[in-house]
Symmetry: C2
Subunit: 460 residues, 2 copies
Amino acid sequence: MTSAKTALAYLAEHRARHLDDLCEFLSIPSVSMDPAHRADMNHAAEWLAAYLRQIGMRHIEIITEGGLPIVYSEWLGAAAAPTLLIYGHYDVQPADPLAEWRTPPFTPTIIGDNLYARGASDDKGQVMAVIAALAAWLQTSGRLPVNVKLLIEGEEEVSSTALHRFVATAAERLRCDAVLLVDSMMLSPQQPLILYGTRGNCYLEVTVRGPATDLHSGTFGGVVDNPFNVLVRLLAALQDGDSRRVLVPGFYHKVREVDDAERALINQLPVSEQAWLALTGAPALAGESGFTALERASIRPTFDIHGIGGGFTGPGKKTVIPAQATAKLSMRLVPNQDPHEIAELVQTFLQRLAPPSVTLTVAVLSASHPVLVDYRQPAVQAASAAFAAAFGNPAAFSIGGGTLPIAATFQTCLHAPLIITGFGLPDDNLHAPNEKISLPCLFGGSEMVAHYLAELAAST
Amino acid sequence: MTSAKTALAYLAEHRARHLDDLCEFLSIPSVSMDPAHRADMNHAAEWLAAYLRQIGMRHIEIITEGGLPIVYSEWLGAAAAPTLLIYGHYDVQPADPLAEWRTPPFTPTIIGDNLYARGASDDKGQVMAVIAALAAWLQTSGRLPVNVKLLIEGEEEVSSTALHRFVATAAERLRCDAVLLVDSMMLSPQQPLILYGTRGNCYLEVTVRGPATDLHSGTFGGVVDNPFNVLVRLLAALQDGDSRRVLVPGFYHKVREVDDAERALINQLPVSEQAWLALTGAPALAGESGFTALERASIRPTFDIHGIGGGFTGPGKKTVIPAQATAKLSMRLVPNQDPHEIAELVQTFLQRLAPPSVTLTVAVLSASHPVLVDYRQPAVQAASAAFAAAFGNPAAFSIGGGTLPIAATFQTCLHAPLIITGFGLPDDNLHAPNEKISLPCLFGGSEMVAHYLAELAAST
């Protein structure tokens, strides 16, 4: 096994410089959501390409696919060794509300053990942690232990349209033995976390239309149906109030059975019900009966209403029968539920319940597949070992409750194991003012990647 | 019986002048809702007081009761005759959206048989129709056939707070044998309508609170309760989806039994189900089983949700578990339901259903009592006869589906029969651009009042 020792020494020696480089990268306001920052997006992509050239990556390319630039880079000099695709993104969330930042969002500032800036944790800091590890190997050994394909996109915060297109069309070029997605977090500074899957999502908009216009509820109350009265009945029919199970026939048919070993693995995660309560401020936890909170957050599907529009919600009282009511709702899905099939089932169920006094439409706003990886595979276990070497503890394993549509695309197109992980922390203020990254996590992240390249080379 | 003949002749002769006077009154923008029109409110009250003095009313007074001015006037020279209290209002709705008016809202304009202006129908036109009738009697006979107390308020569009206070404290002074409320409409230019009651209203705001802040539905979905999921279940539990009956125990206990004669009277109203459909544009009518649409709009209570706030309703999709969800809902009540008692019953019912994973609060935004008048009383039947004399048809009788809180206050404080009627039409664009009054209804309204004073004198 190639030793990571000299690479680690290089990382330790060059921390200050790597930090300076990261600060330079963070000072480019690459806000993908805001067209006013289009030039900054190009600037950030070009900065990144130039940086990769400088550390010794061989092939560097900027790909657009009709969207914001994707920075793609390869080092394929380890002929017999496996190939690792590493994913991250350089676009960031807008910095609003600006007034709530204690330091300027695009003037990176170190306070104690933390570096504050928009993108520090999500995801420029994590990307630069990876690149520092590549630099350390390339500068000390003149080579990497494995082949590396690096894919850093600029549309993660705005749905990755260009990247989905690129991956779907360049599967041969992106062929690899493992995909390391570095855009996530650790449970604590000492406890790394690997997600061996994510939930999918089926996001629907359900609209009930009644009268042609809003009507006075005195004159017409009791005569025409009220779209809100109908909608709450339909929505309530979707979920049992006691068991919290979804009542749509067929909803659970394809849900994967999880064996005791995996349930035990998930329940090992050091997150207590008390911690959930403290974190959320909810009066009590609640969810599908028969499962622990950790199971309900990972291996079980959910049903959530996000909002209901169309009526009167201003101050005071208005006695109106609204012409329509529209609910936004989504279901987190688990393997092997199919989001399109679930959308169909829900639509059929609701149409059957809707009375003739209203019209019902169901629009599918998004349909993302769940992802599941066999965490016992060597490429995944090697990542845990690399974490153990860098942070003193092997990774905890779980399935992410959220949805990572690009992970499903990687899995479908590349057929390689995914390792979804990262070096952020739960208190990094992602998408919020005063975003930061912990310096120990940042430096540890580089060490983990430096180890992982060697571990992966040895694992196959 | 004193003949209305000379008064009617006077009305016929002075139509142009009465119309000019009304136009002058309409040109004062007495918008009670807008503090910027405070001076206009005073101006309108003073204009009205001066006008009443000029036509020969004896006592004229402007009363404030801490609110916008009430114009009160008396003519009590018919010693042995009954006393009629007449109610109307001189405040108007705001004129927005201004761009949709075809003629300026405060520049009264006659087009064909209609007079267009804000307040033309609601309620300045109707008030001036009454005053023209008083003027006709006073100018031709030097007296009125009955004693008249005229109460014209300036807060009808903003909840009549001052008037409620005044009526409650001046019951002795306002003592009367009948109350004529002139702020309503006819079914058509040939078909007058008298409401012998109105529904009450119990307006509630139901708030379900869960987590302390909005949460990500991927991370926390399935772990904490979603206030929207809970709220739709609670709201759905309030009403049966098939019978459309309210399921709150005790809700119907005090609902008055309506005998066959009264049901027949209500079902006589010339409004077909086809007309309801055409008017509302609803795909089908719906309401409590076992009752006709006309019954459901008058003698049966209702339950309507007006809107639900608190979640995400913008364009696109946001995967949030909202921290709270708030529904506005109301129930129209019929005699002898008590709005405060109903609020209690609903609150108890909902609290019993709410799970420990949320907190529930119920706020009572308003509680208005229903009103019921015995329509067989002479003072009411006399009004129908006056309509027959003026419009060729006696009045149809029904109970108003909406709520008239001041009617309940009159009934409670004055113990006199109420005649709730008016000279507007369903297409008068109340509260909307291009409000108008039909000139035949306006002039016919004056004739109806002129007749009614004589009919009332003769009826007792």
